[in-house]
Subunit: 447 residues, 4 copies
Amino acid sequence: MEPTRRSFPTASQAFLAKRIFTAVGAEGTLIEDAALVLEDNQILYVGPAREVELAAVPVHDLGDVTVLPGLVDAHAHLTLPADKRNYEQVHQDPDEMLALVCVMNLRKHLAAGVTTIRDNGGRNRVTFTVRDAIRRGYLAGPRLLLCGRPVTQRLGHFYFCGGTADGPVEIRATVRALVAEGADHIKIMASGGATLGNLPYYAAYTVEEMKAAVDAAHDLGRLTTGHCRATQSMRYALEAGFDAIEHAEFLEADLSRKANLGAHHNLQGGQSVYDGRLAQQLLDAGTFISTTLQCGGYDTVVDLRHKKDTAGLTGQEQGQLDALQFYFEQKVGNFSQLIKDGFVGKLAISSDAGPFDTQFGRMDLGLCLGVEGGMTTGQALVAATRVGAELCGIADEVGTLEPGKLADFFAVDGDPTRNIADIANVTGVWADGRLRSHGPGVGVEWP
Amino acid sequence: MEPTRRSFPTASQAFLAKRIFTAVGAEGTLIEDAALVLEDNQILYVGPAREVELAAVPVHDLGDVTVLPGLVDAHAHLTLPADKRNYEQVHQDPDEMLALVCVMNLRKHLAAGVTTIRDNGGRNRVTFTVRDAIRRGYLAGPRLLLCGRPVTQRLGHFYFCGGTADGPVEIRATVRALVAEGADHIKIMASGGATLGNLPYYAAYTVEEMKAAVDAAHDLGRLTTGHCRATQSMRYALEAGFDAIEHAEFLEADLSRKANLGAHHNLQGGQSVYDGRLAQQLLDAGTFISTTLQCGGYDTVVDLRHKKDTAGLTGQEQGQLDALQFYFEQKVGNFSQLIKDGFVGKLAISSDAGPFDTQFGRMDLGLCLGVEGGMTTGQALVAATRVGAELCGIADEVGTLEPGKLADFFAVDGDPTRNIADIANVTGVWADGRLRSHGPGVGVEWP
Amino acid sequence: MEPTRRSFPTASQAFLAKRIFTAVGAEGTLIEDAALVLEDNQILYVGPAREVELAAVPVHDLGDVTVLPGLVDAHAHLTLPADKRNYEQVHQDPDEMLALVCVMNLRKHLAAGVTTIRDNGGRNRVTFTVRDAIRRGYLAGPRLLLCGRPVTQRLGHFYFCGGTADGPVEIRATVRALVAEGADHIKIMASGGATLGNLPYYAAYTVEEMKAAVDAAHDLGRLTTGHCRATQSMRYALEAGFDAIEHAEFLEADLSRKANLGAHHNLQGGQSVYDGRLAQQLLDAGTFISTTLQCGGYDTVVDLRHKKDTAGLTGQEQGQLDALQFYFEQKVGNFSQLIKDGFVGKLAISSDAGPFDTQFGRMDLGLCLGVEGGMTTGQALVAATRVGAELCGIADEVGTLEPGKLADFFAVDGDPTRNIADIANVTGVWADGRLRSHGPGVGVEWP
Amino acid sequence: MEPTRRSFPTASQAFLAKRIFTAVGAEGTLIEDAALVLEDNQILYVGPAREVELAAVPVHDLGDVTVLPGLVDAHAHLTLPADKRNYEQVHQDPDEMLALVCVMNLRKHLAAGVTTIRDNGGRNRVTFTVRDAIRRGYLAGPRLLLCGRPVTQRLGHFYFCGGTADGPVEIRATVRALVAEGADHIKIMASGGATLGNLPYYAAYTVEEMKAAVDAAHDLGRLTTGHCRATQSMRYALEAGFDAIEHAEFLEADLSRKANLGAHHNLQGGQSVYDGRLAQQLLDAGTFISTTLQCGGYDTVVDLRHKKDTAGLTGQEQGQLDALQFYFEQKVGNFSQLIKDGFVGKLAISSDAGPFDTQFGRMDLGLCLGVEGGMTTGQALVAATRVGAELCGIADEVGTLEPGKLADFFAVDGDPTRNIADIANVTGVWADGRLRSHGPGVGVEWP
């Protein structure tokens, strides 16, 4: 005798798929022959198709695909075109050009299954304006969480965005203005970066200044995160109470080389040294780490490897590839250490898409690196969905496929829990229960 | 044998009225068949007409009216036209238009019996200029107490007025400049408000910053008051030693709704929760509360109720009315709690006239809401006269009808101690002993 | 048998008066026992009361008064307070103070029977803003015709208003901007004036420049008028095709005194020499002259004569009175010559109220001087009503009491056609058929 | 015996359609059972399918549709959102928002079959930046011809775009700068428009100034066109040698209404009076007219008519509809006169999309009005394709489907040569031989 099937009288539509990955649990959960039932933009049911009665509901059978929660990219820069121009060159363009860069990037990420983007810094009010334009219906885009301008020291990393502030008073004032303009979180440039003249091996603010930023943000109900390439900046961030840190490259200055330093030396003068004690302290404090594995050249690594396998490399290209591979070995090595030290569950896989060569629409690269670094495929998928949502403070709404959550999801050919690279084979993307894209290279649906 | 009547050889004029309400005592005092004797702009005598000898004095018999002390509105915004444009739209107008708005508002309030206005914030130097114009005799108006620009954080509530200051040093400097320009008191925007991008559920300043404002003001002999919608801002104001707080809405953030916050979210995300312990602490500290009962939409409530009774409401209008009524139930509920907790005597009934729909010339609405909230008519009348004057620090000069006080008074048909709504039936307004208006809709007398 | 009375079924109200002066005809027309019948803001009938049937119409019997068309003051400066500060001192005040000066002046002029004012120059956009405020209902005021900023040479007369332009291209651009801002006419400072450093004995522009201003104005359907104290500027204005000229003082430089000239010499160095040939050319060209008889000190003459008759004058005061009387003898002398040369009918009596001591609300002074200069009382009254309206290009709407005109009128005790000074005894002022004032010193009715 | 078919060895693809409209000839030409053969982005063949050999070519059979040359909209404003905000409100938005408006508009127009847009004026460099973004591949869009900022007098029509210039020298300098920034043509605001304070009934420039603009443009190989609502501005444009004029509303000022003019009077004060002699002179001079039939409220007419037929109209809405219908009767009446006077062939049907309510993607409205005004369907289709291209000076590349032209075309269900409204039933749009859109409401293909 057949068991009674659950029915959903308020359902507006349902989807059938060979596989649904829910991102619930440490490794996520894969349901075979599954159904996803929606009421408008909310999920009513996720589970085996056989347990649900769908006779009265419009049903879309997606076939032999895997459906996953929309990716949550906890770190991207919508205003940056990833066209290998450096920051200084890109910011010769006017604000309206940066807004048009956003249009391209929103589309690429959405087509690749990313339904939530946390932007970690753009110039002036551009990202706020872009969000307003989406709200007005001028264009479609993923859900956006914005910091506006990152808070940075005089001529510090991303100073060209206009968020310069030194000293607790100015920092606090800057945070307040950002929140009034619409910031959902506050991004603090806690160490140097690839901006001309920066020193990524040092903290860029004092603990007192970082505390001022955190307090000002929390006083207005806003989360904080820090650009922390230097170990020192990670320590200060811990002390100041940051909710998350980005990059976590464990860089230290090589003090023996001070005499050689000049203005534009950010690629020399330091090294990456993993600090297990600091990792433990961050874990104890509940601090999230947003890993941005693919940034810093992995798109180029992929291109060069492809060229090596096909046309072959010049000597200069081989040298570039070697240097990049060394960099990513270190980076993935740190990531592996963090996993061993119990950090899975607090590590979000994010892209840092936008700068230099880091393309939007390639979250698959970070996921592959995550698996290369020791995560299971399930852990990696959770890291790019649920953990990202937790880091962003919106896990009550997105990040998993569960009843009550918003209906943000996408479908891929194949099964990423078996082969993580299948995550790139997108065949459809839905946000708020509405079809938004048929995948890369195809038009995004209209607002 | 008739008792000897008192005579006043220096009297310049006298007024007879069926009733004079003096505002002396907790409930005020109503004298029947009364006389008010003046020497120029000062009161010599208030009491039964039969006890005073007026043969040699010009006498105006006002007849069957109630004479009251001129109303003291402890919270208004003279530069704002109450024409349902939002702050950002109004401040597209140039300063000279804001000055002309003041002309209209001064007239409306004066005609409604308000002889003292404490302005709680306008752009640039406009309110100072308007007071100069009155002093030069260009136009007539009530007695003005001014703060000029409110002190506010970057992009904080009323930032468009130009009084932005963050950090103790800048705040102190700003207070000093305001006093030098003519400020009688200092208004601090201690929480967010209805300004675009504001978060009214949070404190806008740290305690240290608020203390700096209070100390700087007190150092120059000026009182302070704070815009405090958030409970948190009321706590900080208490700690910082504010002389008064405005609104006291006891708002708290609803932290579960973080994800939906964006740029323009000040109407969502919080709730009002009365805090009796905080109320007791404020009472112990002697802090005044300026209640601004009618602001936030009560003019519209009155209009919609009238339309409901006559033409009927559309569904949308009924929805608006329901939402507004819910808001005012909460607001009046808090007011009732304050009364129960012993706050009568420290609660001033003020209008917050100017923003959005809150008309000048309608102090009667606040008085009616005060009685609805549990005050006796006498308490309400005292709250809009003597307590207002005490809050403003000018109770030695105005606020009651007593010998030695300035001759600011007005006459109404009927008896507001029996029917509070009679306060709107103004038949004459005198300031400094001089007839200034015959009531609403009639011209104000010339300077 | 009684003749049939005319009836007006659409009449909204009617006024009866002992005398109505219509300003129709060269000397105007006085109707005894007259009626004025309105339909809303328009005149339906003016004539003997006995010829009209008013049984069904609300009738206001104004009694033994003279009703006249509202005065049209073709030359005033609403932003100037007439408080004996010079231009440079007044313009230390901010724009919002100038707007408040306008409020006072509008009231004074309206209370004195002036229902139309042509403003001939104020700073920035102040007069435009004041008109907007009247349209929005913030305050009541006469009908306003505005030029905004006068067009003037670098540091020329009224340069502080912001309308500086030299050369035909800049002048044309300035005229276009003024019209776009709302200018009804264009005022050109064609000679120097009392502005510090000016030379009133010379033309301030070339004919080519003046032509550019006139052409630019006419190209946009706007009339022109010129400040012309110098004879030379009157000649240029004639050649350039000005629609009107102001002042017409026939000043010539005394070239023998050039060596003594310095920067601040505008009270010396010239003389007034009537030029009958030029007058004839202007008459042939149909150019209006706006006479501004009372400006330049006549208020002070009146005050000093009064003081002489009561308290007596000091030697210094007598000297001042002598100098002023000499000035006005010349001025009235020129006026008399113009009358003799046939200029009645093209001479508007205007006040130039605002600068230095020339009070608003004293059009009676100019009318008395006009009669002193040789006009009949009827001619003078027509010069301050119908001719003013013709000069302003609005004679189809105001300036006389005739069917079809707008209902702008006022009532005075006495009969100004017998005693011109009776024009000051105002008992009521109506604009657009609505009571606006009970006369000087009494409040203007609300918008 | 079957005739030899033509073959195209270099063909890259071919399209079959039931009907192809070529826009060649006065009425255009309709080919049944037709083929369109391309080599990359160029047309090799258009004609009967039976005459061409396609065995070796990829063939897309579009079925029972009509294929037409991509529409050429000779007048649009990409930066304006058509959301019923006025110009002043829209331009409160920053440049980056205007760029995002362009993204929406490009998409709407492209989806409706418009493959070439001539923008007639936007703020600052926004339109140039948008074209750069398309060239960089950030987004897809129609072929763009740009003027950048329109040349306008001080506070003239569209002054907020930043192209203000008065006098021949400044105008010539402005034209040079625009060409250097990338202008393809020069737009001159030759009369006032709907900008606040404008007078559309008058010419805004002198003939000398207009000549300067034309000469400067022609000197740099650029065409000119003028915003000409006033008859006077059309006469001046003729004299100055404009290549085209826009709107051609034949407006004249109504001089009898001078008195009521104030700052914001552009909706009153004039009337439309057709001038056949002027039309003949323009025809003789070879001047194109860009008719912008649908602008000024036709979208609203359509909406109100629909509401009238369904829900019914309120009195206010009926009044609005009546006023708009009167306006469009006049407009279409002028259009009919121009046709009768031989102007077919020089009249381009353009949209003026962007301002107020004139939506992008609705060229069908203008085409319907063109037929209503007396054009045949063929003439109307030619007016929106070939004549538009001739007006824009690019008829050697686009505007018809002929060998050698660029492969810009679109397909519609039905046959617009029988029913002009079928033009809206777009099923596919190709630019440069590449599929760009599947029609309205569906995503535009990626760059």
